[in-house]
Structure formats: C-alpha cells, structure tokens
C-alpha cells in the first residue's frame, strides 16, 4: 500500500516561498494498493495536481474509477471539487462517500457549493462524469471500497463532527484522523479503534501545544493529541497533518523536532511529494 500527500495544509491554502517544502495545498490524500486500486480522501486544493496526473491516463479517456471519501464538507476539504478535471470527462466513475454534518444531505451541500452564484458549473448535474454520492451513516461502520477494507467512525470537531477512516490492504493498515479535537479527558474510543496497530497514522496536528492554548474549541488537535493517539494505539509511524496556514516550513521543522523528543514512535510531518510505501 502506498500513500501520496497532495495537500497537507489546514483551513486555507498557502502559496508563497515559506511553504514550499511541506506544501500549501489543502487536504487531499491518495492511497493506492499493490494492485493499483486507489482511493482519494478529501477534495482540498491538492486534488487539482492529482487531476493533472490522472488525466494523462484512463481518466483522460473517460475510463477511470475513483472512490472519494470525505471527512466532512468544510471548504478546505471540498474546494478542489469544481476543479477536479476527471469530473468533466464523461464515462469516469467517481463516487463520493461522506456524511451529512447538519440535517442537509451531502448531495445538497455539494449542490450548494456549485450553485450558479458561486460556480459556473451551476450544479452537480453538469459534471459530465456524473457524481454518485453515497451517504455514510454516523457511527462506526464499514464501507465497501474495491481493493481496501475501510472502516469509518465519527470524531469530534469543535461544534460539529467529522469522519475518521481506517484502510487495510496488502497486510498494511493506514488510519486518517484529520480535523479532530478530543475532549479534555483524551482521545475518544472511536479514534483509538481506528488507529489501533496502524502502520501509519495520519493525524491532525494543526497547532503546537503552545499555540493550542489560545485555540481550544477550534476543532483541531495540538501535536500532543497526535502523539497520544499514536502511543495508545501502538502505531508504527505517525504523520502530523493539517498544518496551520500560519506555520512556515521552518516552524513545522521546529514542531517536528520538539515532537520527536517527546516520543519514541517514528514521527514525520506530512509533506506534498512523491508516493510513500507503507
């Protein structure tokens, strides 16, 4: 199983010279199994770069199949949707799995995103590939995604909640827990269950512990939460994710160096770049 980070930045894209090594695109992560089956998590701006690569292959000919899992629909996790060019090619099969955060169904939320005021696409129905939206019911559940064993569970995110995911394939396990803030008593059982024994845990670490003090309640984790989940779940490696738009490359370097001193678990900060073998 391989993972490729196309977008690792939280909340807001960060172009500019101080964000080149970790990358400035908002969340988009591609997971590929050994047989070449892929699944995409989140549709942040990072998907615009993935799209360019996909269009060179079967997606450019309308023969691509892609399951997409959405943690939630805050803008930084869906803002790449209108620019994901495989949607524009008839024949591609793209299925979006996600949950409704409010009473509004997921398809209606995405429809609002593409309404004529906000987008020249005027609605999901104008994406030539068509978009199949699969609702995920809140609560721990398993999903059918070809080539992977996938389970999903809800995680607290400020005043709302998101989905976390666990992927198993080729004897390896990856957990994706982004946009999560635990109660003061610590990580929730759902989070620990998703991460249990994972070879790689991708975890929200938007803030350093010092920054977090003034940002409690914003729905994001301090680095210590990522470490805590990693240690309590016995993961092989943890990738800090959803970096603050105010963290420059140098600041992320510092966050990583500090974090490494506090745990014996292998730890990196997620960065845009080539695929990584798990």
């Amino acid at each position: 199983m391989k993972v490729r980070f196309w977008g690792v930045r939280g909340s807001f894209a960060t172009p500019g010279p101080h964000y080149l090594r970790y990358g400035g695109n908002t969340p988009a992560v591609e997971i590929t199994n050994d047989a070449g089956r892929r699944v995409l998590i989140d549709l942040g701006t990072g998907v615009t770069e993935l799209a360019k690569q996909l269009m060179l292959g079967e997606f450019g000919e309308g023969r691509g199949t892609l399951p997409v899992l959405l943690t939630h629909t805050h803008l930084d996790h869906i803002q790449g949707l209108p620019f994901f060019t495989p949607f524009f090619i008839k024949g591609n099969k793209i299925q979006i799995h996600g949950a409704a955060l409010t009473g509004l169904p997921l398809a209606a939320v995405l429809q609002n995103q593409l309404n004529g005021h906000y987008s020249p696409l005027y609605g999901l129905e104008n994406l030539a590939a068509g978009v199949a939206v699969e609702a995920i019911e809140p609560g721990a559940t398993s999903l059918s995604v070809e080539g992977f064993e996938v389970s999903a569970a809800t995680l607290p995110h400020g005043g709302t909640w998101v989905l976390g995911f666990r992927f198993e394939a080729d004897g390896k396990t990856l957990a994706y827990l982004s946009d999560v803030e635990y109660p003061v008593e610590g990580p929730t059982p759902e989070a620990l269950a998703l991460a249990r024994g994972a070879d790689l845990l991708i975890h929200d670490a938007m803030f350093s512990d010092a920054e977090y003090e003034s940002r409690a309640g914003w729905g994001h984790s301090p680095v210590s939460s990522a470490i805590s989940v990693a240690e309590r779940s016995g993961v092989g490696k943890v990738a800090l994710f959803h970096h603050s738009p105010d963290s420059t490359d140098a600041e992320i370097d510092t966050i990583v160096a500090d974090a490494r001193r506090r745990t014996s678990i292998s730890l990196v900060a997620a960065a845009e770049g080539p695929a990584i073998e798990i």
């Binding site: 805050h74 803008l75 620019f83 005021h117």
Partner: protein, 318 residues
C-alpha cells in the same frame, strides 16, 4: 491633481483566477486568488474582491486596527464565484468587535444578497456563520450605471460578460482614476447568461445587440482612465479551447482599451496553470504589444503596489 505625494495607490494581494495555487512555480507572481486594496491620498480604503489574498490583507489591517476602534471596511465584489469570496471567512478584522463591513455586490438573481453572502459560511462549509462573528455586516446592491460614493471614492459600476453576471468598476479619487475589470469574456462571440455552458453557444441577434451595448458601456466607462486592471486569464491558444469560460486574453484587453487615452493596463486574474516562467513570457510579449499602442502593460504580482496617476508616477513598473 495631486503633486508630490502619491495619489490613489493600489496593492495586489491576490492575482490568480479560479483557485489558489501554492508551490514552487508561483512564488514570484503569487498564488492567491483575486483581492486588491485601493487607498486614497487621505487613507480611504476599498477592498476589491475577497479571494484568498484577503487573508493576508486582513492580517495587515487587523494590526493597524488594533491601535484604533470602530473600523469600517468596504468590500466591493465583482461577483461571488468562489475565487472572489473565499477569503471572507478568514478576514481577521471580522472577528474584532467594533468592526463594520459593508459588502457591495451585484444582485444577480432573485435571492437576497445577504443570503448569498451568508451562504458561504453555512455550517456545512465553515464553523462560524457570518451572523455569529463580532463584526456588523451591511449589504449594498450594485447596479451597473448607478454611481456609488464611498469615502472619497466615486465609483461607477459597469456590466461585464461573465457567467451569472459580473460587474467592473471605475474608481475616481485624488484627481485620478483606476478601473477594476474582472471577470469578463470579450464582447464578441457569446453572451453569458445564467445557465451552464457545456461548450460555446451561438449568439442570437439580440445577444449581439446586448454584447455591443455592454462593450460600448465599458468603453465609455474606461475612456481616459489612468490605470486599468483587466481579467486576462487566458493566452490566445487557451481561449480558443475555452471561449465559454468567461475570461479574456491580453489581446482582448488591449483591443478594448486602445485609443481610449489609457496610460497603463494591468494584466490580472492569471490562469492557475500559468507558472512564473509562463508569466514572464506573457509580460515580455504584451509589454512590447502595449508599447506599440502607447500603453504601459504591467503584469499583476502579489504584494505589488502601484501609484495611480501620471503626476507622481515615473511610469516604471516593479
């Protein structure tokens, strides 16, 4: 006319169209979407569009605001496609008590403007709704042809040719003038309305009349303007492929502004795929084409400030 102090000045906080593009290929021209700050001689401030460039502008303004109180910002929108509004929820002064924010936008459909703007911070999209932030918001409907006065700016809105409708603005202040023309397709070919275009659509005779009227309105608005910022997203070969996407080329812009006594044309709303290298080529090509027409062509770059008005500006771009 101003004399030795700068007259109006304009600073570019986001110059990109469609979506923000981080990465090594956009470092010099910038990757943030549309947002421009306009300042008059005595400190009046207009914010033209609220794309992702607005976040950094907001951080600057919040730092200035900390020393004062009861600030009033004027955010003037060309239209409400995402690339022109997505910075708004990240505008730091909105979270400071005492801030007033007036939003000016074209009413492009029967929906109330307030509803449309509030729609971008629905709970599905953003944790904090516009109604819940400390700042007071006011909404002002813009009508092409109906002049607005904001602080010491006299502003004339003009209709543009863009999906669902967009509006450009000529801004007069300090005895000089600046125009902000984004987003627009050229005024030949097709007329954008309020439905999806899968491909180019043939213009009817009525459409052609509307387009000719739009063009005339824009030409009359721009005549004699010092500096014109123009949506020039596409290169000609790209426009050939996407003539129905609602954007122009630098050639369209030059063709429209030539002979109108315009001193300077600023190329703006760059395609997300145009790397710094491509932008260098565009600058080179169109500077020369501009010279032939007696128009100074400048390519917008993030954080670039231009003085508007001929008296104090030697006419050198950065």
């Amino acid at each position: 006319m101003g004399y030795n102090r700068a007259e109006m000045q304009v600073t570019f906080w986001g110059v990109r169209g469609s979506y923000p593009v981080p990465g090594p290929d956009t470092v010099r021209y910038g990757g943030h979407t549309s947002c421009v700050e306009v300042r008059s001689d005595d400190g009046g401030c207009l914010i033209m569009d609220a794309g992702t460039g607005l976040r950094a502008l907001g951080q600057k303004l919040a730092a200035e605001q900390a020393a004062h109180s009861a600030w009033h910002y004027h955010v003037v929108l060309s239209h409400v496609h995402w690339d022109h509004i997505q910075g708004l929820p990240f505008f730091q002064p909105a979270y400071m008590p005492g801030t007033r924010i007036s939003i000016y936008a074209l009413r492009a459909a029967a929906d109330e403007l307030q509803q449309v703007i509030s729609g971008i911070t629905r709970h599905e999209f953003f944790p904090v709704t516009l109604q819940a932030v400390p700042a007071d918001f006011e909404f002002h409907e813009v009508l092409p042809g109906r002049q607005l006065s904001i602080d010491d700016f006299e502003i004339r809105p003009v209709a543009l040719n863009h999906p669902f409708g967009a509006v450009g603005y000529r801004i007069n202040a300090d005895g000089t003038s600046l125009s902000y023309i984004s987003d627009t397709a050229p005024f030949t070919g097709l007329l954008h309305k309020q439905h999806f275009l899968a491909g180019p659509e043939e213009a009817s005779d009525d459409d052609r009349k509307v387009l000719a009227g739009m063009r005339e309105g824009l030409v009359n608005t721009l005549r004699g303007c010092d500096t014109v910022i123009f949506d020039t997203q596409f290169l000609p070969e790209e426009f050939e492929k996407f003539p129905h996407w609602g954007h122009s080329t630098p050639d369209h812009a030059l063709d429209l502004v030539k002979g109108l006594g315009i001193r300077r044309l600023v190329l703006y709303h760059h395609a997300p795929g145009h790397s710094d290298k491509v932008m260098d080529t565009i600058e080179d090509t169109y500077r020369r084409k501009g010279n032939d027409l007696g128009i100074q062509v400048v390519v917008a770059r993030e954080r670039m400030t231009l003085q508007v008005g001929q008296v104090t500006d030697p006419g050198v771009g950065p």
